[in-house]
């Protein structure tokens, strides 16, 4: 995604500005316009209760895996809902499917169902 500014300059004006060291980074903003919602749409179709999440973090607070691994289910599934699905599959492997998150959820989201669907639908890293 990154492209040296020098290359851009070279292309446009023929000058080389190698020493500036500036790069063009892809934006940090969540870009809903460019997002791939196919995974989110399919998970939503399979687990309609997913729509009820209010982001309280109860699932993550009770998560045994999350206490020890870099695994935050609230953040992970939020990224899917925002269309950012790359690099998530590996993290999801920390989940042991114990289901404590389902018992905890105040909104009645079938969180384990969401995880099961994601395990199938998330692209390989």
């Amino acid at each position: 995604m990154e492209k040296a500014v020098a290359d851009i300059h070279k292309g446009s004006s023929g000058t080389v500005a190698k020493k500036f060291g500036f790069t063009v980074k892809s934006g940090r903003a969540i870009d809903i316009d460019a997002a791939d919602m196919s995974v989110a749409d399919e998970v939503m179709a399979r687990v309609p209760s997913w729509s009820l999440c209010i982001g309280c973090g109860g699932c993550t607070a009770t998560c045994t895996a999350g206490a020890f691994a870099d695994y935050n289910f609230r953040r992970l599934h939020l990224m899917v809902r925002r269309g950012e699905v790359t690099g998530l599959r590996g993290r999801l492997s920390a989940c042991m499917l114990c289901g404590k998150c389902v018992l905890q959820c105040p909104r009645g989201v079938n969180t384990r169902g969401v995880i099961a669907a994601l395990m199938e639908l998330l692209p390989r890293d």
């Binding site: 309280c56 973090g57 109860g58 607070a61 935050n72 105040p106 009645g108």
Partner: protein, 342 residues
């Protein structure tokens, strides 16, 4: 023409206010209260948000007005059944007595959520896990202490216990717990300035006049810590403290905290009797179990029965001021109705 009578069921602030308002309009009210005193839930409360007014300052003038105007009051009157038709209402009590009137105002209030149902929070198991009502009684008695009598140096306050929680069978928002949590956090800091207070919330719903200002004061002046995340469980520690686990959702990381005391902000639930009375009378309850008004606007105190009116928290969670104003509205509607009878 005989004096028109309206029975008010429930002697909390809404019921008392409705009875007094009916009397002022020339109708003969009668008040039925199941407890041995008037005042309802407010009798157990210390100070009220957002002004810090003593609950007694609201209850006492109403009790005095009831006695001064000679409003007939039945105490220890547990209603067993309400029957009647479009022209009369008969209220029967468990002691066998019954009372008849042209109309009735139902102001039966709410039940508190039983915090022990959320077993993961350990209420009734760990002595230093208390409810907002327990804390209020501590404020009233002047001794805000842990089970062993020591002063708490750190307190976690958990919002939404029995509110917005489908697992507990209460999907609705109880509305007043957020501001109660802010109020109690401030009161704890006033009592023990060195105490660290942490409020764990899902959303801060500061809907009323002066609420947002109180929230800001809690942050700015009292340095109360607000952490956005729902506590998933409380565990007792070897030294009788309470370990709470939550996610700090803004940081995106699980969080652990050991405190001297945990306060559960218990929600408002519809009493089971609502459904029973509603079916006897042929009126409606909402999906949350509270009585349903004819509409959300001018008809909020009306029901599908022209001689049955509803007021206060019987129709849903409310603050004290809202309950009292709704009671006046119900009294006006009820008085209009009975005066219009031939």
């Amino acid at each position: 023409m005989a004096a028109k009578r309206v029975i008010v069921i429930g002697g909390g602030v809404a019921g008392m206010q409705a009875a007094v308002a009916l009397k002022k309009q020339g109708v003969t009210p009668m008040l039925i209260e199941r407890d041995i005193t008037l005042g309802g839930k407010l009798c157990r409360w210390d100070r009220l948000f957002p002004s810090g007014t003593r609950a007694g300052e609201v209850v006492s003038p109403l009790v005095e007005a009831i006695s001064e105007t000679g409003i007939r009051t039945v105490l220890c009157g547990e209603v067993s059944e309400i029957v009647g038709d479009d022209s009369r209402v008969e209220v029967m009590l468990t002691d066998g007595s019954s009372y008849e009137a042209e109309a009735a105002i139902i102001a039966t209030g709410f039940d508190l959520f039983d915090a022990s149902l959320k077993e993961e929070y350990g209420y009734g198991i760990y002595p230093n896990v208390v409810t907002s009502v327990d804390l209020e009684e501590m404020f009233r008695s002047g001794a805000v202490v842990r089970a062993d009598g020591s002063e708490p140096r750190s307190v976690a306050i958990l919002h939404c216990v029995g509110s917005r929680d489908r697992q507990a069978g209460c999907g609705h928002c109880s509305r007043v717990c957020c501001i109660t949590g802010v109020k109690q956090a401030i009161e704890l800091k006033q009592l023990y300035p060195g105490c660290n207070v942490y409020n764990f919330y899902m959303d801060m719903r500061m809907f009323g006049s002066g609420y947002e200002e109180l929230y800001k004061e809690a942050q700015e002046r009292y340095r109360v810590n607000f952490i956005r995340g729902r506590i998933s469980e409380c565990s007792g520690t070897m030294d009788s403290r309470v370990l709470v686990k939550a996610e700090d959702t803004l940081a995106g990381r699980p969080l652990r905290l050991t405190v001297d005391m945990t306060v559960l902000l218990v929600g408002k639930q519809a009493p089971a009797s609502n459904a029973k009375f509603a079916s006897e009378l042929g009126i409606c309850v909402s999906s949350d179990g509270f009585f349903k008004g004819a509409d959300c606007f001018d008809g909020a105190t009306l029901t599908s029965r022209r001689n049955i009116f509803v007021a206060g928290t019987a129709t849903g969670p409310k603050n004290v001021g809202e309950s009292m104003n709704e009671a006046v509205a119900a009294a006006i509607k009820a008085a209009e109705y009975v005066k219009g009878l031939a």
